[in-house]
Each structure stands twice: as structure tokens, then as C-alpha cells.
Symmetry: C2
Subunit: 247 residues, 2 copies
DNA sequence: CCTTCTTGTTGAACGCGTTCAAATCGGCGC
DNA sequence: GCGCCGATTTGAACGCGTTCAACAAGAAGG
């Protein structure tokens, strides 16, 4: 009953075993992502994925609990690509606006090939019962990695922030970046030009707000905002979930 | 081929015809909403709805294009209940904070009975292809009505706002209210107490921000914010869609 | 070689949302 | 009465995601 489903990311397990199954798993994932890119999500059936990958339907389900779980693999995949695309700029640039701009632009560039099928991504992501829900247990690793990226955007810049800001701002930026992606998903303009424009304008605004938050007169206001945002963040709340306390 | 599907809202058509079908339609909708409330969305099958309503499956599809379209009817229904629940307070109260508080509280109260099945609501609502997408053509009437409610919240208050604020703020408040609902959907605390608390705190913050926007020094900043928000709003963009130009 | 256990693989079958050709109903002219 | 036509209703059928009992392939020990 305990299949290979425990290890979601290919690189997480020991790396030594390299069981026969790892090949099959990779084969299925690769086929699925290709078909998603070509035909979109809805028009790609599990039967088609299995056939194109040269396995049976049941076998695909041996490695991926559901069709949705294939998306989670997509999540992890594009996130890694995004990280790679950012690395160089983040090591060089120190201006906060340019850092954030570069990261956001890289994000859009990374997910662009998947624009056709990305609709379904947020569709299932918004379902509180779905494992793809950005707040779910299962997607916590990717979310934490992504939030860490925004922490790095801030820390590597020449802008000094107060401690309470530094604690909450990465999460806020992550939320902001989700909002941009949401806009992008609905964007039907050629080349998603509107998304890029909207992103650039809003990045300027965000950076301006951040610098405003450092002005002493406005501190009480921003402190209150942070308080409300913190309330928003720990959704599990009184249930006492220790897993979200760390970091 | 042109069935009764053209008239989505029951009160929209002439009201005179009252064809046989209107009864059947109402019967199906009532049954569906009841089952949704009792078992949730996923566990309520179209076959079960049809059987409980005393019709065939195909007949249900004659009146509702899909299972999702039953949700749109739910949208319209709860919106009317919300309006009704607000009417009295909005006629009496003039303080902006209390007006907004009352409206938001009424919103949560109205949708509370549907908390179990509301997850799917946003799930499909986030899909850009879905007719339930809040930005879609099909849900435009409800959205406009809802936005109008927030315009009334502002206009009936003793707070005077500049014209550009008055033009954009209702849309912003509508977006804010969607955010609260999104929080509520994910809220698993007993009685959704966290949602109410979060709503109250954020309402205070929102009102405070609105009054800040009236301070001359900060006007340029808020004007820029409004500009970006306006960019966000007309998504159809360069396609030249005249239907969203009105009002 | 035979057993035993885990890992990997199969394809038929289930329940679902949805479709559609065909049947039925209801009013209106004759 | 009969014929007609649009509105309504039916239920079998399709394709989908998913499940599961059964089977095959290795690996390990005797």
C-alpha cells in the first residue's frame, strides 16, 4: 500500500536506490507536461498520457495519486526554473526595485509556455480541499521556498527594513506575486503584454509603499496593517498546528 | 435549440409567460441548493438532484447548462438575501465604518449556511474559462449589482470623497469583500469566528485608509494606486469590449 | 530450483457529468 | 375529431477520472 508516492519530488529521496520505478515515473511526468503544454489540461486525458508514455492507466495512478498531482509536479518544476533564472540578477543587482522587477519578470517568463493550461492550475488551487491549495500541507515546501526567494530579494538589497517588516514582508510579496499570476492567467492580450505592464506598474507602487513604511509618522499605520496580515497568515489558528511555526 | 437558458435569473423575463417550465426550473434549483447545503457540492450528483426533484437527468440539463450553472443561481440567490439583510441598516446608519461593518457582517451571515459547499464555488470561480469566473461576461450582472451596493455604502455615509475616489472605490471594496469571502472559505475555526474577527479588523483598517486618502499630502500616492487598480479592472483591454464601458 | 516478499503493472469496471435522438405534451388552426 | 409545431421530457450512451483485484518481475534466502 505504500507505493513511491511518499516522495513527491524526484530529487528528494536518497538518490541511490534508482529503482526501476523512477524511470517510469519520470517518463509519465515528462509526457504529461508535454501534452499539457500542447493541448491544455482538460483536453489531455489520463488515458492519453498513459498511452503516450507507454504504460497502462493504472500504472500512472501508481505514481501520481491523481491528475491534479501532476500539476503539483509542474509547480515544483517551474519554481526551480524560476530560481535558476533569478540567481544571476540577485547576485549582481542591489536596487530593490530592480531586484523585484527582475524576479517578477522571470516568473512570467518561466510560466509563459504553460499559459494555455494554467487556468486549471488556479482553479484547483483555490479549492480548500485540494492538495494544490497554496495553503495546504502538501504544498507547504514549495510555498516556503518561494517565500524565501522574496526574503532574499529584500535582504540582498540596499534597503534597510525594521525587524517586524522583515518578518512579514516576504509573505506579503509572495501573496502579491500570486496576484500577478492570477492576473496573468486571465490575461488574453497578445503576448500577455498587459500582464507585464501591470506587473511593472505595480512593482513600482509596491517598492514605493515599502519605502513609505520606513517613515516614522506612518509606522503605527503600517504596524496595524502587519498585524492584520499576520492574522490572515496563520489560518490553522486555534487548532494548534506546530508545522507552520518554524522559520 | 433555444431553450429557457437565455433567462438566467428567474425575475428577469417578462413575468407574464410563466410557462410550465418555470415551475420545473424552480423545483430543480430548490432541490439542488438544499442538497448542496446538506451534503456539499461534490457529493451531490446530478442524478440525485434529478431524482429528488422528480425529473430525469436530461431535464435538469434542459434548464441548467451544467452543474456549475447551478452555482451561478446560488450566487444570485445569496446576493439578493444579502441586499435584503443590508437594506435597513443602510437606510439608518451614516457612519462609514458602521455601514461597511454591517454590510460585511451581513455577507458572512448570509453565506454561512453554505460554508460546506462554498469551497467549490471559488474553485470554479477561479477558472478563467468558467462562466462563474467573477470577471466573465455571464457573471457581470451580479458583479455590477454587488459593486453598486458598495457604492451605496459610500454615498450614504457622512464621508465626502473626491470624484476619482468615488469612481474606483466601489470596485476596490468589492475586491476586498471577495478577499474576505476567500478567507472565510478556508476558515475551519468553530463558527468561522476567525473570519468575523479578521473582517472586523480589516474593515477598520480599510476605513482608516480611506480617510487617509483625503489628506492632501498623500493624494499623489493614492492617485497612483487608483491608476494601477484601474489598469487591473478593464481586463478585456485593447480588444475593445464596449459592454464594460457603461455605468 | 522453489518459496516469499516487495515492487511494479495491468485492464476491466464503477460512478460521475454530460449529450442527444427520440418520445411526449400542449395549444392552435382546421 | 385531426394535424402540426414548438416546448418539454426521457433514458440510454459516451468519455472521463479513478479504483482495485489480480498478475508479473525481481530480489533474497534456503
Amino acid at each position: 500500500m505504500d507505493g513511491p508516492l511518499t516522495a513527491t519530488a524526484p530529487a528528494v529521496d536518497g538518490g541511490k536506490k534508482s529503482r526501476k520505478g523512477e524511470q517510469t515515473r519520470a517518463q509519465i511526468l515528462e509526457t504529461a507536461l508535454t501534452l499539457f503544454r500542447e493541448r491544455g489540461y482538460e483536453d489531455t486525458t489520463m488515458r492519453a498520457i498513459a498511452e503516450a508514455a507507454g504504460v497502462s492507466v493504472g500504472n500512472a495512478y501508481y505514481y501520481f495519486r491523481s491528475k491534479e498531482h501532476l500539476i503539483q509536479a509542474f509547480y515544483a518544476r517551474t519554481h526551480e526554473e524560476h530560481l535558476e533564472a533569478c540567481r544571476e540578477v540577485l547576485a549582481r543587482e542591489v536596487g530593490l526595485r530592480d531586484r523585484l522587477l527582475a524576479v517578477m519578470r522571470a516568473k512570467l517568463d518561466t510560466i509563459m509556455p504553460y499559459h494555455r493550461f494554467s487556468g486549471i492550475l488556479f482553479k484547483t488551487a483555490a479549492d480548500p480541499e485540494s492538495p494544490l491549495n497554496p495553503f495546504s500541507e502538501e504544498s507547504l515546501p514549495v510555498r516556503q521556498q518561494s517565500t524565501a526567494l522574496f526574503a532574499e530579494v529584500l535582504e540582498g538589497s540596499n534597503v534597510r527594513l525594521s525587524a517586524d517588516m522583515m518578518a512579514e514582508l516576504p509573505n506579503l510579496l509572495w501573496t502579491y506575486h500570486m496576484g500577478i499570476v492570477l492576473f496573468w492567467i486571465h490575461d488574453r492580450s497578445p503576448g500577455c503584454a498587459r500582464s507585464y505592464r501591470f506587473m511593472e506598474q505595480s512593482v513600482k507602487l509596491v517598492v514605493r509603499l515599502i519605502s513609505l513604511a520606513q517613515i516614522p509618522v506612518l509606522r503605527p499605520l503600517f504596524r496595524e496593517i502587519l498585524k492584520v496580515v499576520a492574522e490572515l497568515r496563520n489560518r490553522e489558528g486555534t487548532e494548534g498546528n506546530p508545522s507552520t511555526m518554524g522559520t
